[in-house]
Symmetry: C2
Subunit: 250 residues, 2 copies
């Protein structure tokens, strides 16, 4: 058994388009975790696991995924390790940084909050060079109504009405610190910052805000959703295309 | 035999990353031409061919590829046709416009010139969200030397030293109207405008300008290359990643 003496924190960016999500699955299924582990094992030369902060779904991207690796090697030049791993990774995955952290640090359980961005192209036509990285929605939207609805999500609530079944964790209470809409050159970015997210929660939040923006219901409907926990009254689970995990906070 | 009464000019944008180039090949090989033909046949409901202006290679992108379709249908609402085709195309291909042109118009032979852009990321790290769409070159470059070398390409020359063998056309004389370098947020864009290009010519031009920028030779080496026609003295054929067909002129 290799003695693990050091804990490394990695910040990782990727274009998730061609991966079956972050989490390693059966052999032959291409995942970001699998790719990063393979690169880390090649460089550190012992068996290891890469523990990710967030199990991003198939097609979801990251600017600042965080992972930690416990390693036997205590004399690692971090920048050399970073470059060596990057040279073994495909061009749609990048290790942004490597640093030493205490052995108790765990990328997932040590995180106190995270931010996602959902990017929408509101133009007439899709943008082929951003295929898989933005969601195309060409119908007119009332952005003010969407902003008002977004504000009602902020706070500590039971979000079970804004998550898909299959999430077996008992506690569905989460705190949203921020849910902001920013207009961009191509349309709209929606930023959500929270202490944690249920399964598909960000994508359902975005689907629900789009329904509000289309006039299907008013901002006050958000209060009803949070009180009733009725998934069927929320918007649809929108495509993963526009979704990017931006940052983890510790 | 369907009587073809109308000729339609299409302007097409695509992210070429996951295609085996523009030109239709054997069944089962995914190409942009194949995709556009399938969509056009579904909408126009008769056999047809899509004639492209430029056979972009595997991995090369387009903002303004041009193609023409001769069709039996004389009562086509162009915007309806465009939207119907786009709804049948994958999200990395977009028909930008459809218009009627004279029956004699041929997207390839009627073209008088075209512009390509080659996009380079000069930053320390690759950019995962632009994977396949920019070329990463992290070594320092002398941009002034590259600009001076680029200017020596402008004019009417025999470009056989800047093309890959396999091109069997006898005439290797082409005219370059413009070869400009523009700095960007992430590095450098190289624009080349010419009346035609030999096989891999833009990619070899960029490889040669990078060699000049690295100090392997001075701008005057371009004159030698054009006079000698010696492919071995030029730079390498650079990756298709950064290459985009921008515009066709008629």
């Amino acid at each position: 058994m290799t003695e693990l003496k050091r804990n490394l924190k990695l910040v990782i960016a990727y274009n998730g388009m061609r991966y079956h999500g972050w989490q390693r699955q059966a052999p032959g299924i291409d995942t970001v975790q699998g790719r990063v582990e393979t690169a880390a094992i090649a460089v550190l030369k012992h068996p290891l696991h890469v523990h990710g902060a967030s199990r991003t779904d198939s097609g979801v991207h990251a600017e600042g995924q965080v992972a930690n690796i416990r390693t036997a090697d205590t004399r690692i030049p971090f920048e050399g390790l970073r470059l060596a791993m990057n040279s073994r990774l495909p061009k749609d995955i990048l290790i942004r940084s490597v640093e030493a952290v205490p052995m108790t640090f765990d990328a997932s359980s040590s995180a106190v909050s995270k931010t996602y961005r959902y990017r929408i192209n509101l133009g007439r036509d899709r943008l082929p060079h951003l295929a898989g990285q933005v969601y195309h929605y060409w119908q007119p939207l009332d952005i003010d109504v969407m902003r008002a609805a977004a504000q009602r999500l902020v706070g500590t609530h039971d979000f079970r009405g804004l998550a898909n079944s299959g999430d077996r964790r008992e506690n569905t209470v989460r705190t949203i610190f921020r849910c902001d809409l920013e207009t961009t050159d191509i349309g709209l970015d929606i930023f959500v910052h929270g202490d944690g997210f249920l399964y598909n929660m960000v994508r359902i939040i975005v689907g629900t805000l789009l329904s509000a923006g289309r006039g299907k219901f008013g901002p006050e409907h958000i209060d009803y959703l949070l009180e009733s926990g009725d998934r069927h009254q929320a918007g649809k689970t929108i495509s993963p295309d526009g979704l990017t995990l931006m940052q983890l906070f510790y």
